[in-house]
Symmetry: C2
Subunit: 355 residues, 2 copies
DNA sequence: ATGAAAGCGCTAACAA
DNA sequence: TTGTTAGCGCTTTCAT
C-alpha cells in the first residue's frame, strides 16, 4: 500500500487575508493563544467580557478563520459527516442527500459525499478514506455486500447509520421507509379496484431494500389475494428485457384482471416502456402501481399510481440519529427507524370495474 | 464571529487498529519517520528496496493508515475538492456530481459536496467553509449573485472552476454546454418541420445559463425565422402559473403553426402539464422541444424532442481543468470550455406538414 | 480570568 | 540512502 503522489504547486490559502493564525489574533488582541482558542470554542466563562469583545473585533478585522485541519488534528473531530451513496444519480438519493445536507447545516456539520456505483470494493475504499479524513460519523447507503467489513467497523465503534438499505444483521442504526405497511395498503387498493392478479416486477434481489419489498409483496399477496405470489425479475436494464416478462405475465394470468406492482422507479419505467411497446394500455389491460413518486409518473397517460417515499426525511433522520450518538449516547443499541410512505392513487389503477 | 460548540464524546478512530501512527511503523520497520513519510509519498528513490519492502509489510501488518488531517496541516493540501451545487436534486446536477466524483477518484481526490439551494448567502458560507477545510480546489455551480465575493477569491488565487453556469466577468475557468449552437440547431429543426412561430418558455433570468439560453433563442429566432422573439417567463413553479402564459401564446400566434422551446427540464414539465390541462396536444396544436433529456420525456405521448446535455462530461472537464491548474499551470488564463449538446428528435415536433 | 508549554501526526529542510 | 529536527495551527493540561 502506498498513499498518494507528490504534488507540484499549492496555492490555496485563506480567502480573506493570507495565513492569519491564532497567533496573529492573540498578538493583536493582547491575549494568549489559549484565550483565543477558548473564544473559538465558545468557552466564554473563562474570559472577561472586555477580552471577549476585543477578540471578536480583532477576528473580524483580520478576517481570521480557524484552520479546521489543525483543529481536527488536536481535537480528534472534524465536524464532517461522510455519506457513502450507492447511486448518486437516482432521484431517491439526491433527495436523501438534500435532506442530509440541510440537516447537517443546522448542526454545523459539513458533508463529504462519495458514490460507489453499487461496487462493494469502492464502498470499502471510500469508507476507509472517510475515516482517514477523520469524519465524525458515516451515513451509508450500502451495496449490502460488505457485511464482514462493516461488522468490523461496528466493533471499532465507528458511528455509522444505514440509510434506506438495511442489512440482515442488526448491528447498525438504520433509517428506512416503511415498505411493508405500504405494500399491504397498495395491494389492498388494487384488490378494491377489482384486480384479481398482481405480479411484482423488480430487479434482482441485490440489496436489502429489494429483499424487504419482495418479502412484503409475497406476504401481502398471500394474505390479501390468497394466491401464490408471482415475482418477475428484470435481469437487464434494457427496454427489451422486460418484454418477454410482460408476455409471460399476460399468459400466466389469462382471464384475470391483471395488475403490476413495481419495486422502484426504475422498474416502473421499464414496465411502462414495455407496455407501450406491446401496445398494452393501463389501467384496463394491466393496472400499474409502483414505488417512487418520480415527477413523470404524474404525466404519463393521466398518471401512474405510486408510492411516495419520504426520502428527504430519511436523510434528516440519519443525521439526527448520528447526532444522538455523537452527543448523547454513543453506546445506544442499534435501532431501526421506519418512516411512513404514502399511496398516491392516480389513473393507472383506475380500472373500470364493470366493463 | 465564533466558531463551533464544544463536543461531548468522540470515538472515531482508525478502523483497523487503534491509533497506529507513523512512529509505530517506523519503530517496527527499524527506520526513521522520514523514511516512512517518503514511502507514503511515493519517493522510492530515497530508500533501498529492502526498506521499501519492509515498510510495505509493516504497514500491511499494522493496518496503518495515514492521518490526512496531519498530512494536510503540514503539506498544505488535502486531496479534497469542494463542490458547491445550487440544486442537488436536479437531474442535471446529480449526473454532474457523478462525473465529478468518478473523475476525482482517478486522480486520488475526495469530494466535499454542499447544496446552496440557490441561496447566495449559503454559497458564500459554504465556499468559505470549504476553504477552512483546506480543499485544494473548488467546483462551483453558482447562484450568480456573488460576483464581488467570487472576484476576491480569484484575487486570492483560489483554484475555482464554474460548472455549467457562467458569470458575466471572465475571471474563472468555466465548463458549460454549448447552448448557443444547439439552440440554432433546434430552431432550424422546428422551421424545417413547418412551424412558423416559436416561443421560449422559461423561468426568470436568475442565472448565467438562463441568460445565455434566452439570448441564444432571441438571436437564433431572428436569424432563422426573421421575427420578433417571444419569451414567456414562468414566474412560479405551480402548475397554474403556466396556464395563462400558454393561453397568451395561443392568442399571440393565432393562425400560425406554433411551437414552444423550453430552457430546461423544469420548464418542459410545466408546459407539458399546462398543455394537458388545457387539452392541447402536441405535435399538432403546439410543437414542443426543450433542454434536458430527462427519462420521462421519452415516455410522454410518444416522446418529447429534447436537447441532451453532456452533464457527466461537464463534471469530468471541471475536474480535469482543476487538475491542470493544480499540477501544471496555476496562472493559466481563465478559459471557457463548451461541450456540445445533442438534439434528440421525437414525436413532439413531428408536425404533419400538410394537414 | 489568563497564560506557558507540550503535543496531535505528519512533512520537509538540512545534515550526514 | 537515511536520519535529525523544526514546525504546520490548533487544543489542552497545568500553573498562576
Amino acid at each position: 500500500m502506498f498513499f498518494g503522489t507528490s504534488y507540484l504547486g499549492v496555492m490555496l490559502m485563506y480567502a480573506r487575508k493570507k495565513n492569519i493564525t491564532i497567533v496573529d489574533v492573540a498578538a493583536k488582541a493582547g491575549v494568549s493563544k489559549t484565550t483565543i482558542s477558548r473564544y473559538l470554542n465558545g468557552k466564554f466563562e473563562f474570559m472577561s467580557s472586555a477580552s471577549r469583545e476585543r477578540i471578536a473585533a480583532v477576528i473580524e478585522e483580520l478576517g481570521y478563520r480557524p484552520n479546521n485541519l489543525a483543529r481536527g488534528l488536536k481535537s480528534k473531530h472534524s465536524k464532517l459527516l461522510g455519506v457513502v451513496i450507492a447511486d448518486i444519480t437516482s432521484p431517491f438519493s439526491s433527495i436523501l442527500l438534500k435532506g442530509i445536507s440541510d440537516c447537517c447545516e443546522r448542526y454545523g456539520y459539513g458533508v463529504l459525499i462519495t458514490n460507489t456505483g453499487d461496487d462493494p470494493k469502492k464502498e470499502r475504499e471510500y469508507i476507509l478514506s472517510m475515516i482517514d479524513q477523520h469524519v465524525d460519523g458515516i451515513i451509508l447507503n450500502t451495496t449490502g455486500k460488505n457485511q464482514e467489513f462493516l461488522l468490523q467497523l461496528a466493533k471499532d465503534d465507528v458511528p455509522l447509520v444505514l440509510a434506506d438499505r438495511p442489512l440482515a444483521v442488526k448491528a447498525f442504526d438504520t433509517v428506512r421507509t416503511a415498505d411493508r405497511e405500504i405494500t399491504f395498503t397498495a395491494l389492498g387498493h388494487l384488490r378494491e379496484r377489482g384486480y384479481t392478479s398482481v405480479g411484482l416486477f423488480m430487479e434482482p434481489l441485490e440489496n436489502g431494500t429489494r429483499v424487504c419489498r419482495c418479502n412484503a409483496y409475497q406476504d401481502a399477496y398471500r394474505e390479501i389475494f390468497g394466491k401464490m405470489p408471482q415475482v418477475y425479475f428484470i435481469e437487464k436494464l434494457e427496454e427489451a428485457a422486460v418484454i418477454p416478462l410482460l408476455q409471460e405475465f399476460q399468459q400466466d394470468n389469462a382471464g384475470e384482471s391483471r395488475a403490476i406492482l413495481t419495486a422502484n422507479g426504475v422498474a416502473t419505467l421499464q414496465v411502462v416502456h414495455g407496455m407501450k411497446r406491446l401496445g398494452l394500455a393501463f389501467p384496463d389491460d394491466i393496472g400499474i402501481c409502483g414505488f417512487d413518486n418520480w415527477e413523470w409518473t404524474e404525466l404519463v397517460d393521466d398518471g401512474i399510481t405510486v408510492i411516495a417515499q419520504p426520502s428527504y426525511k430519511v436523510g434528516r433522520e440519519c443525521v439526527k440519529r448520528l447526532m444522538m450518538r455523537l452527543y448523547r449516547n454513543s453506546k445506544a443499541l442499534p435501532r431501526s427507524i421506519e418512516l411512513p410512505c404514502e399511496l398516491l392513487v392516480r389513473n393507472s389503477t383506475n380500472r373500470q370495474v364493470n366493463r
